[in-house]
């Protein structure tokens, strides 16, 4: 059989079987119970296809989706459509990055290792923390790992979860709490005020988990909360779902956060229907040895030259097995590289300008929406996303706007289907890719549907 990815020919196979001294390839499967050996290729699956045939099928599926590439879109809620410079993807596609494994052979993996070292430095700087790891699966998994790390550090077992935390992040914490045996006390959606959070702290509390900007787009200064937490031996975990905001807003580190768990998708990575994205994980240096995930560190080679290796792996599963800090093995390497390359292109000036542009456009949009009778912008503060209160269910508006077509935003009810008081709330986000014309089209559509 000819197949484009398989180099062996029948002549090769024949020659190889001779060396092995067996008659057929099937003879190599003698250890498989006879009852479990299939007689031939599964008849319920199709046969192999040419490259263009596969392209036709999967291209057809892609064409069935309506995307932000072809109509105005204002969705955020933890995933943001930012422009990714063309050079980012060109570099990612270099086979030396794309097709290498985890850099366990440092002599021939300095490309991956040095870029991870740069990534860790960028993440630490951006979050205002002392150290960062080499990435997690995504922001939500970084957040739950932060909670479990706080449990290990404090030897306590109760996390207080702000009602302003992204619902998926909260659900992950709750799943882990149920499965692994700690307590997650989640406050009602929106409940994110300092007083509300502090009054739930008790002697069993390991951490308080908040988000900035919060799920509804509001900005918070958590400095006082951090102090209140620390006074009782509690750690403050700050989640960030829109990483670009850190270019404009005071960092969690400056507010006194102990651990920061962020979604890095907004820099370097496409929406991609929600994955793969990249989790950023940073903390104070004193907690280093309780960190989950891989860490890249600087060292020297046999000739004294600077180089990088994966380090402190005695925390990890392949060495510690059942005593590891986490079961995590794979990280989000290539997405972390995309983040690092894009942030290298942006630099100090570019990130600040990008972030400010996002905020400026969002304020324009908020002002336009605020003028529509019956609509109310609920936020006093925001970065590039805010909550609009409509006179009827937000899901209805989103559906009606599809006729334009406009992807109008994310109804809060998509996450909270059983909270009638949230039914009329719509989350809208604006990035540098949204134009004033798109916003005007949204406003016109909204006026017509009201």
């Amino acid at each position: 059989m000819l197949m484009r990815y398989l180099p062996l020919t029948d002549a090769d196979r024949h020659l190889m079987l001779e060396r092995i001294v067996v008659e057929t390839v099937e003879d190599l499967f003698v250890d498989v119970p006879v009852s479990a050996r299939l007689p031939g290729p599964l008849p319920t699956l199709p046969g192999h296809l040419a490259e263009f045939e596969v392209e036709r099928i999967i291209g057809g599926l892609a064409a069935k989706n309506l995307t932000a590439a072809t109509c105005p879109a204002f969705l955020g809620a933890g995933a943001y459509r930012h422009h990714v410079p063309a050079s980012v993807d060109q570099l990612l596609l270099r086979g030396e990055f794309l097709t290498s494994y985890t850099p366990y052979q440092p002599e021939v993996s300095q490309g991956t290792l040095q870029s991870l070292f740069e990534f860790q430095t960028q993440v630490a700087l951006l979050t205002g923390m002392e150290v960062a790891n080499a990435s997690m699966y995504d922001g939500a998994s970084a957040c739950v790992e932060a909670v479990m790390m706080a449990n290990r550090i404090t030897r306590r077992g109760k996390a207080i979860v702000s009602g302003g935390l992204h619902p998926h992040y909260r659900e992950l914490v709750e799943t882990m709490a149920r499965s692994t045996g700690f307590v997650a006390q989640a406050l009602p959606p929106g409940a994110s005020l300092h007083e509300t959070l502090v009054e739930h702290i008790d002697g069993e509390t390991s951490c308080v988990v908040v988000q900035n900007p919060d799920f509804f787009g509001r900005l918070h200064d958590y400095t006082e909360l951090a102090e209140a937490c620390h006074a009782q031996g509690v750690l403050l975990v700050v989640a960030v779902t829109e990483v670009v905001s850190l270019g404009l807003i005071k960092s969690p580190g400056e507010m006194g956060a102990d651990i920061v768990a962020a979604e890095g998708q907004g820099i370097g990575n496409a929406l991609g229907f929600g994955g793969p994205h990249v989790g950023l994980f940073a903390c104070k240096e004193k907690y280093l040895r309780q960190m989950p995930g891989r860490l890249c560190g600087q060292t020297v080679d046999a000739e004294g030259r600077r180089g990088y290796v994966l380090t402190l792996s005695t925390r990890e599963q392949h060495i510690r097995r059942e005593k590891a800090t986490s079961n995590i093995c794979t990280n989000s390497g290539l997405c972390a590289l995309a983040f690092t390359i894009h942030l290298s292109l942006l630099g100090e000036v570019g990130l600040a300008r990008l972030a400010e542009l996002n905020h400026a456009l969002a304020t324009k949009f908020a002002d336009m929406i605020a003028q529509i009778p019956g609509c109310r912008v609920r936020n006093d503060s925001f970065f590039n996303e805010f909550t609009v209160e409509l006179p009827f269910p937000a899901a209805v508006l989103v559906e009606k706007m599809l006729a334009v077509p406009i992807l109008a935003g994310v109804p809060v009810s998509r996450f909270y289907p059983d909270e009638p008081e949230l039914e009329n709330l719509l989350l809208v986000a604006v990035t540098e890719l949204n134009t004033i014309q798109e916003m005007a089209a949204f406003v016109q559509g909204l006026r017509e549907k009201l």
């Binding site: 090769d12 932000a68 300095q110 699966y137 998926h168 799943t175 280093l288 060292t299 599963q317």
Partner: protein, 505 residues
């Protein structure tokens, strides 16, 4: 796979370093080449606006360097050249399935219809994406013979967690609390780490002289407190667990579940269905068997196939289909037995696209050939090296061949030294010192995408190195590698004095 570190030689120990074409010039960090006022991205002018930042505008500088686009492109191009990769090198890293990564898959994952798709769009606008997930699920279910699959997990370890949490939930639903999980000592480290995270006590089962689960020890450990066995099959010695059916029968008779680690599925894909072996749950690493690229350490994707009994405990979200089209079940109220959510949004869509493209390209006939050629290549290596190296167990092997360091006995050369010597030959080493059941393990997985010519070159190289080791030239090995961008790195120093980020001088 990892290996224990070894202190590097001190600087100057080998003053006559051979430059021989290696690019040894140090590439400075971006932080050392930037100037704050440079920028590699142009943006339109800011409109006039009024801040709404609640007084939280960042005051100080972040400290990021500024670089132009040409500098960034050169920097990361130069860094890439310091990597070995499947594209450039034979990469027979055992248990990692370093097969060719088709570029068609990359092209399709980047189609705008997927790349620009927001996960929280109305369901009617994402029917193509949900259909793709459903199709991939069909392939996975058909290839494993299992009735259900949970798709959202981000990687193998999260898949393991999913499978074991589901088993824990199923036991709880029966009103049972079982505390023990059995795992062979040859298991991947993620297995015991996962079981421990879920509160289970892990009991190790030793391997027998044939490199497989010791059936008698296993049976003796069974009891009403055992929740599950976590078994990799083919196992990490590259061997098929011959007693799989008996193990399954015994574990089920004890009221426990059979979790299979599917990391080595490449050996049997399209030829053997885990359902026919009595498996209750198994994760599949899409980045191994189905060629989504390893990307220097991720991202991965770890769907878990489940038995009918376990299916109702699957995590959220999942795709269903009714007469109006595809839907997403996202909330606990619609899935009351679900263990809950393990991943933000809906899973690793980009990996799903690549994996489905891989499956469609191969078809059932191609996948049959994949496992056949993968096993053939591994046995060819075993047959060609067993006279100069020491094979740990009797063959035939499945997709990987395990050797140990007995053939290096009294030479002074270690498994690590041999691996480092391979680097100078332009070959990525095999997995070293894993599995733990043999001394100085060398686990070689060639995969099906290597030609016989490549294997012959590798075999000739290994034979030469094995003979060289026996000639007593220890120092030559200990000095390796010589021709790589850097020579042996001091891992002890890195761990003793962790420097995990750049800081301004």
């Amino acid at each position: 796979m990892n290996q224990p570190g070894r202190p590097a030689h001190t600087a100057g120990a080998n003053p006559v370093a051979i430059a021989n074409g290696r690019d040894s010039a140090e590439e400075p960090l971006i932080f050392e080449q930037g100037q704050e006022q440079r920028c590699g991205v142009d943006l339109p002018a800011l409109p006039a606006y009024q801040q709404r930042l609640a007084g939280l505008r960042r005051q100080g500088k972040i400290g990021l360097p500024g670089l132009s686009e040409p500098q960034v492109v050169r920097h990361y191009t130069r860094l890439s050249q310091k990597n070995f990769s499947i594209d450039g090198n034979f990469y027979p890293l055992g248990s990692c399935t370093m097969k060719h990564n088709p570029r068609l898959n990359e092209k399709l994952a980047r189609l705008q219809g997927f790349a620009d798709l927001h996960p929280m769009q109305p369901i009617v606008t994402v029917q193509g994406a949900l259909e793709l997930i459903d199709q991939l699920a069909y392939w996975l279910k058909t290839l494993t013979g299992m009735p259900a699959v949970a798709m959202s997990q981000a990687a193998g370890a999260q898949g393991e967690f999913c499978g074991m949490a589901v088993i824990k939930a199923a036991l709880a639903a029966r009103g049972e609390t079982r505390t023990k999980v059995l795992a062979p000592e040859s298991a991947h480290g993620t297995n015991p780490a996962t079981a421990a995270a879920l509160g289970f006590v892990v009991e190790s089962i030793p391997a027998n002289a044939q490199g497989r689960v010791d059936l008698e020890v296993f049976k003796a450990k069974l009891g009403p407190d055992v929740a599950a066995i976590m078994l990799t099959n083919p196992n990490t010695c590259g061997l098929f667990e011959r007693d799989m059916l008996e193990i399954a029968q015994a574990i089920h008779a004890a009221g426990a579940y059979f979790y299979c680690d599917g990391a080595n599925f490449n050996a049997i894909v399209g030829r053997v269905r885990p359902a026919d072996l009595g498996v209750d749950a198994m994760h599949i690493n899409l980045h191994k068997t189905f060629s989504t690229p390893h990307g220097g350490g991720g991202p991965g994707s770890g769907p878990v196939v489940l038995s009918a009994e376990l299916a109702r405990f699957a995590p959220l979200p999942y795709v269903i289909r009714d007469e109006t089209g595809f839907k997403l079940v996202e909330h606990g109220k619609d899935a009351p037995d679900s263990i809950g959510r393990l991943k933000g949004f809906h899973g690793q869509m980009g990996m799903f696209i690549r994996a489905l493209a891989y499956m469609l390209s191969h078809g059932a006939d191609g996948l049959w050939q994949v496992s056949g050629d993968a096993v053939l290549n591994a046995n060819y290596i075993l047959a060609s090296l067993k006279d100069v190296m020491t094979a740990s167990f009797e063959g035939p092997v499945m997709h990987e061949a395990l050797f140990d360091d007995r053939f290096l006995k009294d030479t002074g050369v270690t498994t690590l030294d041999l691996a480092k010597a391979l680097l100078d030959e332009g070959i990525h080493p095999m997995t070293m010192y894993f599995p733990l059941v043999v001394h100085g393990a060398m686990l070689i997985e060639p995969t099906e995408t290597e030609s016989r010519e490549t294997l012959d070159t590798f075999i000739a190289t290994m034979r030469r190195l094995a003979e060289h080791a026996r000639s007593g030239d220890v120092e030559w090995f200990q000095q390796a590698p010589r021709h790589t961008p850097l020579r042996r790195l001091d891992e002890t120093l890195a761990a003793r004095h962790p420097v995990l980020r750049w800081t301004a001088p």
